[in-house]
């Protein structure tokens, strides 16, 4: 018999992602906002990548958590034993209404129902006392 299944990797709360996880613990999705030009971005960066802005000043702001599936693929390869029982599973890119894009997973949606362009909303999966992982589900009507 196999021993206890290996858990999926729990992301490290790095200094750069600490505000993201702090928001997630309160069931809010947050992204970085350039304090000079106002552009929202994710993943976080040291410097705003808008041409000519290049500001180091940034803050974290909550966003709606609503968006659409820009694209997706179905992972059939096993890279980490934590995913052994889930293969094949979808990985999605969600484009938020506010613009930034997040790589994520879709929940409450059978694989064959996933569509590029489908509206989705954020939901949170509590992995530990520190880490709630934002995922997405089909948007409620």
């Amino acid at each position: 018999m196999p021993s206890e299944p290996v858990r999926k990797p729990v992301p490290r709360v790095s200094e750069e992602l600490a505000p993201f996880f702090a928001a997630a613990r309160e069931a809010k999705l947050a992204v970085q906002r350039c304090q000079r030009c106002g552009t929202l971005r994710f993943p976080p960066r040291e410097i705003c990548s808008v041409v000519g802005c290049w500001s180091r000043d940034a803050e974290w702001v909550p966003v709606s958590g609503r968006g659409e599936v820009l694209s997706y693929y179905v992972m059939h390869q096993l890279y980490h034993p934590g995913f052994a029982t889930e293969i094949p599973y979808p990985v999605v890119i969600v484009k938020l209404e506010e613009g930034p894009k997040l790589l994520s997973n879709l929940v409450d949606c059978p694989r064959e129902k996933i569509q590029v362009g489908m509206p989705v909303e954020v939901t949170f999966e509590e992995l530990s006392s520190e880490v709630s992982l934002p995922k997405f589900r089909p948007a409620s009507a």
Partner: protein, 390 residues
């Protein structure tokens, strides 16, 4: 304005044994490739005065100053040009361009451009192959929590959106895999030499990152490839028919390929075709960077062989295979011959322009188009090569 058109040529080609070849290190393969290229050209080691190296993933510390490491490994002295270059799969083409510029400027005369790698080894740790230049790679830890690993998925995201917007089908990607394999069947240096692939076998191959099957993805190869660039005049005095460099260009679009569904080819092509003074319709064959079948499809669109979104129907029906109207990746490409990053397409272009393709030799070989592509459609290089000096 001066032009580089046909001022320089590729005069030597060295291809080591490719694939599951164990023993040599990455730098050892590089030495072998340079030696083979010198023999091919009829040049002596002391003729080399320039060395450009694209170190593969397994050069380790030597990769920090790869061209110096290779110079030392070969005992070469008094070089006038030396650099390691790194723009992913566009690097090979970029090295040839840099060599051509330096030669034309009188800064070097015989420049070797080398790629080598030896990634096939006893199993590695899972994370090792995750190096990627994607915008999403920053949050590596976070991606792992979602089970998003490797580069295959990043290209699959672009492909899936292309399928959604334009109706591109899995079988159309499969048509590319089948066509290229048909070319590889007649390439004795190909890892899939003599092993044809049917569309049914393609469909039955396992999914990797759906929509990609195993046969949508390039091979992994141990080996090395070197080319020698010199002036057109010097090339004419050497052993092999010169492969004249008529046009060259680069394109690095920025942005997110999932949204643009485009490579850097449109930018690179403008520069390269203007320099060559030819039209796309004059191209006899293409050697296109093929990390995935989908990359070939997008690249054909981006060079304008068909409209954006029409790459699927274009590759269907054998158009790019043996006997088709546009021969593409005539040695099998990286999907079916060997994966030496951008050196695979360059090496096959050299073979075809020289007329040394044996059973796979294309009938018309006056002008060939060669592309390199790095990251996730992030960097691009174009070479236009000809057997004619003008």
């Amino acid at each position: 304005m001066s032009t580089l058109r046909a001022r320089t040529a590729i005069a030597g080609l060295g291809i080591t044994p490719q694939g599951k070849v164990y023993g040599p290190s990455a730098i050892g393969f590089a030495v072998d490739a340079v030696r083979l290229a010198l023999e091919d050209a009829g040049l002596h080691p002391q003729d080399v005065d320039g060395m450009l190296v694209n170190p593969g993933l397994t050069w380790g510390q030597a990769g920090q100053m790869a061209s110096f490491a290779l110079q030392q490994a070969m005992g070469l002295s008094d070089l006038r040009l030396s650099a390691a270059m790194s723009a992913g799969g566009a690097t090979a083409g970029a090295m040839v361009m840099h060599a051509a510029q330096a030669i034309d400027a009188g800064m070097a005369e015989v420049v070797v451009c080398v790629f080598s790698d030896a990634p096939l080894k006893p199993p590695r740790n899972a994370g090792d192959k995750d190096a990627s230049s994607s915008a999403y790679a920053f949050a590596g830890d976070l991606n792992a929590a979602y089970g998003a690993f490797g580069v295959n998925g990043l290209y699959a995201l672009v492909a899936r959106r292309h399928m959604h917007l334009y109706g591109t089908t899995g079988d159309q990607l499969g048509a590319i895999a089948v066509s290229q394999r048909a070319w590889a069947v007649d390439n004795p240096q190909a890892q899939f030499h003599g092993k044809p692939l049917t569309l049914a076998e393609y469909r039955a191959s396992r999914f990797v990152t759906e929509p990609f099957h195993l046969f949508d993805c390039c091979l992994v190869s141990n080996g090395g490839v070197a080319v020698i660039v010199t002036s057109a005049e010097r090339a004419r005095q050497l052993r092999q028919p010169p492969v004249y460099l008529w046009g060259m260009g680069q394109g690095h679009p920025g942005g997110d390929p999932i949204e643009t569904l485009s490579s850097g080819a449109p930018i690179a092509a403008r520069t390269a075709f203007r320099m060559a003074g030819i039209e796309r319709a004059q191209i006899d064959f293409c050697q296109l960077y093929d990390c995935y079948t989908f990359t070939v499809l997008v690249t054909l669109e981006d060079y304008g062989f068909c409209k954006k979104g029409e790459g699927g129907p274009f590759v269907d029906g054998g158009r790019i295979g043996p006997g088709g109207e546009l021969p593409v990746n005539t040695g099998g490409g990286q999907l079916s011959s060997f994966y030496m990053w951008g050196m695979t397409p360059i090496s096959e272009a050299v073979i075809q322009i020289r007329g040394q393709g044996g059973k796979r030799q294309v009938k018309k070989n006056d002008l060939g188009l060669v592309s390199g592509n790095g990251g996730v459609l992030s960097t691009h290089s174009t070479l236009i090569v000809s057997k004619h000096p003008s």
